[in-house]
């Protein structure tokens, strides 16, 4: 693999790990492991842990995919520009 591709792949890996960290935190973290602790806080009629488990995590999942789409589009443009110098 040449350097440009290696660089592209490493940036991709960095983006993926960042986003998966958030993915893990909102679902397994807020929705399961710390859910009971978060339940002492409320938003509207929802206990916070319950809200993350049944609503919040899903909204954030959608957001994460679109952030990835956006970041990768930028990365792809940068990478292809480098390859064809015109």
């Amino acid at each position: 693999m040449d350097n440009r591709n290696k660089e592209y792949w490493n940036s991709n890996l960095k983006i993926i790990s960042m986003l998966l960290l958030v993915w893990f935190l909102v679902s397994f973290g807020f929705g399961i492991l710390f859910s009971d602790f978060l339940d002492q806080f409320k938003i509207g009629g929802f206990k916070l842990g319950f809200w993350f488990a049944q609503q919040g995590s899903i909204y954030i999942f959608v957001l994460l995919i679109f952030i990835y789409v956006f970041l990768m589009k930028k990365l792809d443009e940068k990478a292809t520009k480098k390859i064809d110098p015109d």
């Binding site: 792949w9 509207g44 049944q54 909204y59 679109f66 789409v69």
Partner: protein, 583 residues
């Protein structure tokens, strides 16, 4: 107009629409048949993926399940949506870049092994048939309750429709019918949810109404629900009853299983390029989230309404839906204290849980039961969880056309998923087994003919499952996800992210994950179901969650064996470099 007539009209119109689309989008080549010519717009593919993914179980059963499980039901909500993040970030773009037709195709080429390909085909067929059996049951329930035809006739009509557009149109026909089916099913799901939300909380958005106060009161819906469930002897609605580790493992098994399901993955082969594959996963999740964030609201509304409308009612004056569902055997009432009133609380009403009815009716007109009464509690009501979504509009006293709409939506959900599954089964047979393994010299035209034949045969088998449903259908759903998580996910993920993984590692990993997971589930579900409780489980992990441990077994075996055996050939390194490159 009667509800039944309205249902016939709605179902008739939607079926005519599906057939129309099938004729318009007939497949001309294997490329059309397997991957819709790779020309599907990402939004259309997102809708098709959503319809493909959201099965009769999502549409008909999930909200009911959550209504009775309360917070424990979150495993389905997070598990069946979180997998799309994994798909979008870890699998879909690379598999699209690989650019072939099926999941076993990738496994066969990446691990340079026909044996690996065959193991993949075997897992795929098992997972897909397990799933189809559930869809057919959904079709049967809708037909028998709303159109008052027998379940068998219902299944045959459903099969005929799927036969028409799957065999004729292949992936292309399926994709565009699924777009239509998504629109039907989401409309059918949201309309009653919005009505009920307005009636109960005054908010037109169920996701908001769910966290609002009840109409004419300052009490929050969820607080009231917690209080009522506690009074009736259940765990509070917003509290977990399962252990944290089990919830963790079930959620993980469902997420990784989702990302490893072949009929979902193959949808990302149909878009024009890699960027579109990522986008398409995002759109798919938006369309899915629309239903999945509404479902828990529907559950809470339904649980509240259900308790309100039957608790302490005399059977003779009980609502009509209660008797309708009793008529087809999905509700049963046993008057334990002989006072003629319905008492609903925690515990099983009947010994053996499921009712078996005998001839004749009791003094209040209720159906008589053969079951012995369970005297350990005072609950008198058996309610099948699958009916909640279908009964909800009736329970909330919504107009007849809403009820008819829900029936059409349930059918759309079941048929779209069944079609997607049939397609992956037929393509893995005609492409992976025939073209790539046993009959490499057939022409494309012959391959297309075999694909159609395989689809027709698969529909026939699925129909038989629908008419004679194997008793273990509900039991084996855990299988489909557990196996997908323990076999496909690690093989695909490592295939892309770990070049050093060789065929020895991949095959040992898949077989190890498969055997471990299958043994655990078969032991607790079939061989020794009496031991199926937390005391006997491995680290208190239920058979539903064991797939996540199976996945770890796969990862460990695959990487260890790979390190100890020789490197994969250079062409595999080149192939992985190719799929990692920017599009």
């Amino acid at each position: 107009m009667s509800v039944q007539l309205l249902t016939y009209i709605f179902v008739g119109i939607t079926f005519a629409l599906y057939i129309g689309i099938a004729i318009w989008s007939k497949a001309q080549s294997t490329n059309d048949f397997y991957v819709a010519g790779k020309g599907v717009h990402p939004i259309a593919n997102g809708m098709a993926t959503a319809a493909d993914w959201m099965s009769a179980a999502s549409f008909l059963s999930m909200a009911g399940l959550i209504a009775f499980l309360g917070k424990d039901g979150s495993v389905y909500l997070m598990g069946w949506t979180g997998g799309y993040v994994l798909l979008a970030l870890l699998l879909a773009p690379y598999l699209r870049k690989f650019g072939k037709f099926t999941v076993p195709d990738f496994i066969g080429e990446r691990y340079y092994s026909q044996f690996a390909r065959k193991v993949a085909v075997l897992c795929l067929i098992f997972i897909s048939f397990t799933y189809i059996a559930g869809q057919m049951r959904g079709v049967g329930i809708v037909f028998s309750r709303f159109l008052e035809v027998d379940i068998d006739t219902g299944v045959i009509v459903g099969m005929a429709i799927v036969f028409f557009y799957a065999v004729l149109g292949g992936m292309k026909g399926i994709t565009y019918t699924q777009v239509a089916q998504y629109c039907v099913l989401i409309f059918a799901y949201l309309v009653p949810a919005i009505f009920i939300s307005i009636l109960m909380t005054g908010s037109a958005i169920p996701q908001v109404g769910f966290g609002s106060t009840l109409v004419d009161s300052s009490t929050f819906l969820l607080d009231k629900l917690d209080q009522v469930t506690l009074e009736l002897g259940f765990t509070e609605y917003t509290k977990n009853t399962k252990s944290t580790i089990d919830i963790f493992c079930i959620t993980a098994a469902l997420m990784f299983g989702t990302a490893g399901l072949p009929h979902v993955i193959v949808r990302f082969f149909t878009v024009p390029n890699v960027g579109d594959a990522r986008k398409s996963a995002g759109y798919a999740l938006i369309f899915i989230a629309l239903l999945y964030t509404t479902a828990p609201a529907v559950s809470a509304f339904a649980r509240m309404n259900l308790i309100d409308s039957i608790q302490d009612q005399n059977y003779t004056t009980a609502p009509k839906w209660f008797k309708n569902w009793e008529e087809i055997g999905l509700i049963a009432w046993k008057d334990k204290n002989n006072d003629g009133a319905i008492r609903y609380s925690s515990g099983n009403a009947l010994e053996g849980i499921k009712p078996s009815f005998s001839e004749g009716t009791g003094i209040y007109g209720e159906r008589l039961l053969e079951n012995k009464t369970d005297q350990t509690n005072s609950n008198e009501v058996y309610i099948d969880r699958d009916i909640i979504v279908l009964a909800n509009p009736e329970i909330a006293k919504l107009p007849g056309w809403v009820i008819a709409l829900v029936a059409a939506g349930g059918l759309a959900a079941a048929l779209s998923t069944a079609a997607g599954l049939l397609l992956v089964i037929s393509s893995s047979i005609s492409h992976d087994l025939l073209k790539k393994t046993y009959m490499p010299h057939i022409t494309e035209k012959q391959e297309l003919r075999y694909a159609r034949l395989a689809a027709a045969a698969a529909i026939g088998i699925a129909g038989i499952f629908g008419i004679y449903p194997p008793a273990f259908v509900a039991q084996v759903v855990a299988f489909a996800f557990g196996l997908a998580a323990a076999t496909f996910f690690p093989a695909l993920f490592l295939g892309i992210f770990y070049k050093r993984l060789n065929k020895e590692g991949a095959i040992t990993g898949m077989l190890g994950g498969l055997i471990f997971t299958a043994t655990y589930i078969i032991y607790f579900k079939f061989i020794n179901p009496s031991l199926n409780s937390e005391d006997y489980w491995l680290m208190s992990i239920s058979p539903e969650g064991i797939g996540s441990i199976g996945m770890l077994v796969n990862f460990v075996l695959a990487t260890t064996v790979s390190t100890l055996t020789k490197k994969p050939p250079q062409q595999v390194y080149d192939m992985v470099d190719m799929i990692r490159k920017p599009s």
